[in-house]
C-alpha cells in the first residue's frame, strides 16, 4: 500500500456532506481550506498552540491542525462559516465581537468565535474569570484580549436576551 494512497472521506461540514479523496497525512485544517474551499478556518502555528484553526467537532471545540481529516470521517464539523444564521444574521457571539471590537486584524477571530460559541453553550453565564479562562487557549497577536473578553461577556448577555 502506497503511503499516499487516497482515502475516501465523508465530511459533514456546517450541515453539508462533502465526499473528498485525501491522503492520510492531510490535516483537517487543510482539508477544509484546500479541498472544500472553506477558508474561514485560519492556520497559524500548526502545532496546536495558537488556536486560530479551532473548529467544532460534534459540537466540541478542537484544533483542526491536530486532526487528520481521514480520522473524522462521518463526523460533524462546524467552522466559522457555519455560525451565522442561514440569512446571514450574526450569531450572538459574532454580534458580541462586532459590538465590542473583539477583533483587530481578524486573523485569530475564527478560532475565538468557534471556541466561545462552544464555551457559552456549556456556560451561558460566565463570570469575568470564566470568560478569560474560556479564551485562554487562543492567541491574538494584536493583543486584543481586553476587548475579546468584553465581547465574550456581551455575547453571553445577547445569548440570554435571545433565549
Amino acid at each position: 500500500m502506497s503511503a499516499e494512497e487516497p482515502h475516501e472521506v465523508h465530511l459533514v461540514v456546517n450541515g453539508t456532506t462533502y465526499d473528498v479523496q485525501v491522503p492520510a497525512r492531510r490535516l483537517l485544517s487543510d482539508a477544509l481550506r484546500h479541498d472544500l474551499g472553506l477558508t474561514g478556518t485560519h492556520v497559524g502555528c500548526e502545532h496546536g498552540v495558537c488556536g486560530a484553526c479551532t473548529v467544532l467537532l460534534d459540537g466540541r471545540p478542537v484544533r483542526a491542525c491536530l486532526l487528520l481529516a481521514v480520522t473524522v470521517d462521518g463526523h460533524e464539523v462546524t467552522t466559522v462559516e457555519g455560525l451565522a444564521g442561514p440569512d446571514g444574521t450574526l450569531s450572538a457571539v459574532q454580534e458580541g465581537f462586532r459590538q465590542c471590537h473583539g477583533l483587530q486584524c481578524g486573523f485569530c477571530t475564527p478560532g475565538f468565535l468557534t471556541t466561545v460559541t462552544a464555551g457559552l453553550r456549556e456556560n451561558p453565564d460566565p463570570t469575568h474569570e470564566e470568560a478569560r479562562e474560556m479564551v485562554a487557549g487562543n492567541l491574538c497577536r494584536c493583543t486584543g484580549y481586553q476587548n475579546i473578553v468584553r465581547a465574550v461577556e456581551r455575547a453571553a448577555e445577547l445569548g440570554r436576551e435571545q433565549a
Partner: protein, 296 residues
C-alpha cells in the same frame, strides 16, 4: 509544517490492531493524536503507517469502584476531567487534568495516550507514577500490566514494545488518611509547565506516615521522590517551615533540573523548591480535612 506521507489503517478489532502493529515495526498507534500530530507535522516522527484505534470497541469507558479508577484508551481528557465519580475516588485526577493543555486539546487528547507518549513534561505520567497506578497493555503475544513507575524510561520513550497497544490505565483510589495536591507554573495557563509537582501525604494518629512528590518538566522522566524522611516525626501540629524546607532540599537532591530557553537550571530548581513546599502543605491540609470526616 506538514506530515510526511504515511499509511493509514482503521482496525475495528483489537486483534486486527495488534496484527497490524506486529506486521510493521514502523507503524504507530494513533488515538487522540494531540501529541503525535505535532510531531508528524514537524517531522520529528515519520511512522510508515498510523494504526487509528478510534474505531475499536469497548475502550471509551471510565469505571470507578472503591479500589480506583480504570480509564479506557479512548477516554478523552475532557471526559475524565468532568467525571464526578473519578474525581471523588481519586481527586488528584481532576486537579492535574485541569492543567493538561487547553480545553480544545483536552476534547480530543486521551489520558492513556498521554501516558504512553511518555513526555516528562506531561502531567498524567507523573500522576500515575506518584499514585502507583498501572497501564494494561495488549499485543498479539498476550496481555501484561506495566507499573506507572516503569512506564517512562527516557524522553518520549515508554517501556512498551512497538507492537503493544495500551488499552486502559488504572489509578488507585485515595486511601484513608491520604491527601493530594498539585501545582505547576507555565508561561500561559495550559501550556507545557516549566515545572510541576504532585504530592501525596498520608496521616495516621496525628502524624505524617507517608509523603512523596512527583516532578514533571524537571528531569528527563517523571521523578517520584520519597519525602517522608524530612517530615517523619512531625508532632501533632502543621509540618513546620523547617520540615517543609528540608523536604524541598531532599527532593532537590534527587532531581537534576535542566535549563532551556524558558527557564535556567537555577530557576527550575527554585520553582521545584517553592512548589514542593506549596503542594506538600496542600496535600497535608487535604489529608487532615479527610481525616476529620470532611469531604474529599
Amino acid at each position: 509544517m506538514k506530515p510526511a506521507p504515511v499509511g493509514y489503517l482503521r482496525p475495528t478489532s483489537l486483534e486486527e490492531a495488534c496484527r497490524a502493529l506486529a506486521d510493521d515495526p514502523d507503524a504507530k498507534v494513533l488515538a487522540g493524536g494531540q501529541s503525535l500530530v505535532p510531531l508528524l507535522s514537524m517531522r520529528l516522527a515519520a511512522p510508515s503507517t498510523l494504526v487509528d484505534i478510534n474505531a475499536l470497541p469497548g475502550l471509551d469507558g471510565v469505571e470507578v469502584d472503591e479500589a480506583g479508577v480504570r480509564v479506557g484508551a479512548l477516554v478523552r481528557h475532557a471526559d475524565l476531567l468532568a467525571h464526578d465519580g473519578a474525581a471523588r475516588v481519586q481527586p488528584l485526577l481532576r486537579m492535574a487534568l485541569s492543567h493538561v493543555a487547553h480545553a480544545p486539546i483536552r476534547n480530543r487528547g486521551t489520558t492513556v495516550g498521554s501516558l504512553v507518549h511518555a513526555d516528562a513534561a506531561a502531567e498524567m505520567p507523573a500522576v500515575l507514577a506518584l499514585l502507583g497506578g498501572t497501564v494494561e497493555v495488549v499485543s498479539a503475544r498476550g496481555t501484561r500490566t506495566v507499573a506507572g513507575a516503569d512506564l517512562v524510561v527516557g524522553p518520549l520513550e515508554s517501556s512498551l514494545a512497538h507492537d503493544e497497544v495500551a488499552t486502559s490505565a488504572w489509578f488507585p483510589a485515595l486511601a484513608d488518611g491520604q491527601g493530594v495536591g498539585f501545582a505547576e507554573i507555565s508561561r500561559r495557563q495550559g501550556d507545557y509547565a516549566l515545572c510541576g509537582v504532585a504530592a501525596l501525604v498520608r496521616r495516621a494518629a496525628g502524624r505524617v506516615v507517608e509523603a512523596r512528590a512527583a516532578y514533571l518538566a524537571v528531569d528527563e522522566t517523571p521523578t517520584v521522590v520519597d519525602l517522608l524522611p524530612a517530615l517523619d516525626g512531625d508532632p501533632d501540629g502543621d509540618p513546620d517551615e523547617a520540615r517543609l524546607a528540608a523536604a524541598a532540599d531532599l527532593a532537590l537532591a534527587s532531581l537534576s533540573p535542566a535549563g532551556d530557553i524558558h527557564a535556567t537550571e537555577q530557576y527550575r530548581a527554585h520553582l521545584a523548591r517553592v512548589l514542593t513546599v506549596r503542594v506538600l502543605r496542600e496535600a497535608d491540609d487535604h489529608a487532615r480535612r479527610r481525616g476529620q470526616g470532611g469531604a474529599a
